[in-house]
Each structure stands twice: as C-alpha cells, then as structure tokens.
Amino acid sequence: MLEYDLVVIGGGPAGLAAAIAAYENGIEKIVILERDVELGGILNQCIHNGFGLHRFGQELTGPEYATRFINRLTETNIKVMLGTMVLSLNSDKQITCVNKTNGLFIINAKAIILAMGCRERNRGPIGMPGDRGSGIFSAGSAQRYMNINGYLVGKRVVILGSGDIGLIMARRMTLEGANVLAVSELMPHSNGLSRNIAQCLDDFGIPLYLSHTVTEVIGKNRIEKVVISQVDSNYKPILGTEKEFNCDTLLLSVGLIPENELTRSAGIPIDFRTNGAIVYDDMQTETDGIFACGNVLHVHDLVDYVSAESEKAGKNAAEFIKNGYISNDRKSAVTIKNGNGVGYTVPQIAVIDRVEKGLEIFFRVKAKSENSVIEVSSENGKIASFKREFLAPGEMERIVIPKKLLADVSENITVSISGGAK
C-alpha cells in the first residue's frame, strides 16, 4: 500500500498543470498516474499550431505546449508513474491501479485530482446506418495513426461532423496526399472555430455541407461509398437530397464525452449537462478531497483554459491537504442555476464565504446571439450584468461576480441571457 498526499489521475494538460500548482503551493508528496507511455496526453498527437495564445501569447503546437509543462515538472520532485491504469477509486480516497512493474496495487491519498480527459463519441450513439466495413474512424484515432504511428488511414475521405478535430484532420490528410471529398455537418452551423473553417477547409477547397448527415454507408469489407442527405429543421433526412461519394474512409468528429467511469465508481454525482462531476467554486466534487478539472469536468475549446482551471484545482487541493478546510458546508453553499439561454455552468455550487475577490463562473450559451446581456440574479433580484457583443455555443464564456455583490445571496444564483438577436 502506497501513501501520497495528492494523487493526480491523468498526465495530460489538466493533470500536469494541477500537479505543478499543488507542488508550488507546498505539497511535496504528489504522484501523477498516466496510462500512456509518456506525459502530455492528447497534446502529443495535436501537432498543429494554435495552442497557448492566451497563456503564452504565442501560437505553439500541441507537443510544444506540453513540453513547457513537462519541463517545469522535471524541476520538481513530483513522481510520475507511466503505463499505469487506474481501475477504480472510492470515496475514502483509495485508488486501485495496475502496471507492469507493481502489478495490482492500492494508493491511499489525502486528496485526489481527477484529470482523465475525454473521449470521442463514436458511431453507436449517433445511430449511423449502413454497412460495417473497415475504414470508419473517429477523427482523433485517425490523427493518432497519422501523427504518432505514421499511417495514412485512407485516400478518399468523407468527414462527418465539423468539430475542430475533424477540420484539422481534413487539412492534415490533404497535405499528406489524401483527397478529402466533403465535410458533412448536421447542424446549420459549424461547431468548429471559424479559423479552422478558413485554414483547414477553405484553403484547400474542401466543401462543407451544412444541415447534412450520413444516411448510408456501403461496403462489406472496406467501405466503398458514403451517402449524405440534407436534413430538415427537425434533423430528419429529406428524401431526394442524397449525394454519393466514392470513398474508402469515413471520419467521425461528432463530439467529445468526459471520461467519468472512475468518478462514477467513487459514487461522485455527475451533472447530466456537462457529463462531468458537479463541482464547487474550488473545483471540489461532492466528495471531500476529490477535485476535478479539464476535459473530464466539461469539454473545453482551448487548452489554455484547461491549464488555468487545473491550476485552480491544484492550488485548492493543496489548501485542502494543508488545512483541511470545511469545504462542502452546505449551509453556506449556493446553487448556480441555468436561466434562459444557458446550457451549463461550472461550478454548479459555490460557497460564498470562501470566495476571495470574485466568483468565477464558466458557462456555455445554447444559441448564437449578438449584443446580448448576461444577467446574474439571486432570490433577491438582479445582482450583476455583463454586456457581450457576440455569444456562441462553441465559445465558452467566463464571468467574475465581485464578492461584494454576493453578500446577501443565501440560496441560489441564476445566470441567464437577455436581449440580442440572431
């Protein structure tokens, strides 16, 4: 049985930033558990640039962004266990893991940070019809084959979903000599960053079919043909709008799901809106001493935000270990509710007494709007408002409510969107 002050599960951007922050706040006995053979997580296969603009003021590639944190980590005495899979954890902060050197073993921790990231949605949940020949990949697995293992997974490619990974792979496979025939997006707008539409599709003349989805996949051994159809306002395919593409590969870029099997195994409540744990303002879950951050908590647009959020988790985990503060005192906790136009918030609960200068809330809106106002109200009425020129579901929003405005709040805070049109 091993004993650590802090165990960080996952050695990607979230785990790295959280562990370093905890170390810098005075915690010495820290271990990062990583199932891969190296640190860095998904950044290692994201070889394109555009990371770090907020944090470092320059556009880094994924490996470069990871390297900055890994270099900092090597200056500390944080222990890293690679090739180590966590099998389960419980609310007593006992972690069961397995690796080649130690076999099956248990770690006891004073605090745990969940930083397992997310995984890609696949064919099943979107109910895609058709044959089951080979050649159907999630965009991220095609990216790993390409950038780490050196395999171009196909020559004639159709991509379903215009999420950023799909767009990045459209460019990447084109540069490597594949012919990307189409990107099909169910929604009337793309969820990818507009810069990726411009630099990954428009630069190479790759057509984007909005309000289109895959209605047939043909090919018993290797796929041979993909049919896409236009959809109506209820996302139902319209008969007679079929377009056929002769192709050998179909990539799916249809969303990311936080990977919370371990969280569930510890009985930690999950928010159905984020698919991540319900957290307090200090990134602590409903289980004392277990924190969560990064894409395991909610899917972020930018790694820069993951790092910032994870540092907050790391710093507060350090406080928890050192002072064991009474964190989840429900008597002084207020619930953060989703009002009109708001899809989710993180955190979902806040302890006002503990807030230092202001309460930071991240959230996503449900629809695009221009010249809108983000309104914050409590059971006593309106407490703050924030103007925004532009809001979109694909862009995470952040507000900070000054502490002095929260003095009288005792039950709940509601975040809602008013005004604006589009």
Partner: protein, 113 residues
C-alpha cells in the same frame, strides 16, 4: 472579388475583398479590413507535419516551420518533408531543414524525442 472568413475573432465575419482596390466589405471592425487585405495579397501559414524518425519511442516526429510561409508553397514543402528521415535523439526546436523549399523558413522539431 475574393471571399474569406475573418479569423481575427470568433464572430467569423464573411469578408469580400476587391482584388484591384483591396476594398474590404462585410467586416464589423477595422481588424477585419487588415485581415482581408493580407489574405488577398499575401496569405501566410505555419506548416506543421511529421517526419520519419528511427530509434525513438514513436515512428513520427512532429515538425513545424519556424515562421509562416506563403500558402501556395505548402505542397512544395510537403514533398521535401516526405523524403526526410531523422534519427533519435533530437532536441526540441532543433533545425532539421534550412530554407525549406526556398521559402526562407526552417523546418524545426516540435519536441525532443
């Protein structure tokens, strides 16, 4: 008339640029004018890719150009990248190819390996 999606901010304005006068329309702010003019006259991109590496933990080493290159040179650069082989170990930021395909940019590693 050339059309671009402005990438300066998330709004993603659809710009129209007159190729002769370089007059930009469809933008919501002055930054869009500048972006539109650059895209119409000299669009530049950072190229990222991988090269074959031997003796390392992975088979591919991520690489990038150390400065933006003209958009129409991307495929020329890829031809050179495809023929290049490297041996482990390499340092992060190490120059692998100087003046890649006559662009004036160097091809550098994105990580150690």
């Amino acid at each position: 008339m050339k059309e671009f999606i402005c990438t300066v901010c998330p709004r993603g304005c659809r710009l129209k640029v007159d190729e002769v006068t370089l007059n930009v329309t469809g933008n919501s702010c002055p930054k869009g004018t500048e972006y539109g003019k650059n895209e119409a006259t000299n669009p530049l991109r950072i190229l990222t890719s991988t090269v074959l590496i031997e003796g390392a933990i992975h088979r591919r080493l991520p690489v990038r150009t150390d400065k933006p290159i003209p958009k129409d040179k991307l495929f020329d650069c890829m031809k050179t990248i495809h023929t290049y082989k490297e041996k482990s170990p390499v340092k992060a930021g190490q120059i692998l190819i100087k003046d890649l395909a006559g662009t004036g940019a160097n091809l550098i590693t994105s990580r150690e390996m």
